[in-house]
């Protein structure tokens, strides 16, 4: 996923929406992938946005102090967003 996000950034895409719906387990690898390219997106005036984040994953993001640091779509916003499943 990290390389896909890097490619998107190099291609001039400023916003990436990551659909977490199918994610069964949030490991440090996924967190590292997001944080590794997040700075590039934000420096370019964009962002990485997470959608369909379950309660369980939110809990893990919270213990890593990431819940407010990352941009997380509200459930009703996810419904109307067009996004690409990244995992």
């Amino acid at each position: 996923m990290s390389s896909l996000l890097s490619q998107m950034l190099k291609g001039g895409i400023r916003y990436a929406i990551i659909d977490m719906k199918e994610l069964e387990l949030l490991s440090s690898a996924e967190v590292r992938s997001i944080l590794g390219v997040l700075g590039g997106f934000r420096d370019a005036g964009g962002d990485i946005v997470l959608c369909n984040v379950s309660d369980r994953i939110l809990h893990v993001l919270e213990i890593l102090d990431l819940r407010d640091f990352l941009t997380i779509m509200l459930p009703f916003e996810c419904e109307s967003a067009q996004h690409v499943p990244a995992w």
Partner: protein, 252 residues
Amino acid sequence: MRVDAEKHYRILVPVDLDEGAIEGFCGELEVVLEDKPNIVLIDCSRLEHATSGHINLLWEAQTKCDEAGVAMQLVSVRYGLERVLKVLDLYDLFTMGYDHVEVGGQPPEDPSNSGVSLEIEFKSSMAGINNALRRFHDFLVRLGVPGTIAFDLEIVFYEVATNIRRHSGLSEEDSIAFSATPEKDEISLRFADSGEPFDPRSASFDFDPRMAVRKKQINGIGLTMIQRLVDDITYRRVGDRLNVVTLTKKLR
């Protein structure tokens, strides 16, 4: 609908808001209100993702209860719904009940009564770790461990196992011994491997996401997750050849 001896009615909010479901919910509420209960509990346990339709339904229920002079509480409110209500400045307009729901859905058994433990040995390859993780998951389900805690434990399992795989110098054919033992109101996870000595308590990270992104130094996330998701960690080096890490987490 459920009613208890103190005349508290409980009505479940439907997830799918087709016409029939909305009519069913509103009809049930009207019947309940005719009975003039002490309180109506609106059960939101199924609303992992709340939509504007759900908000409208809750608002309608609140209005009807107000008109009938009956107190209403939202119970089993999940984070998604809570956040939507807060964003819309509606949170304070509802009364929240203190009824906790676990994500797993089924009421948990008392894990301390199970009297069972899990002992497995698996290869340190990714396939070996993933197979062992599935067995651990099944064990936690059988044990009735609440969903959120089970999820945390599975993350801890995965992070410890992959940490051993990456950093202990083991080959893919080397094995990791694992046991999970529930005791009273906690569970202990024990990992034993014959790799390089490493005490997971020795690495102390003050993980700061802003600094990590700015400096592009994304280290220590796995250990931070492990340290913050369990209540206690012990480490022993046995006979200069075996690492034994025991992680304990409260189940309630």
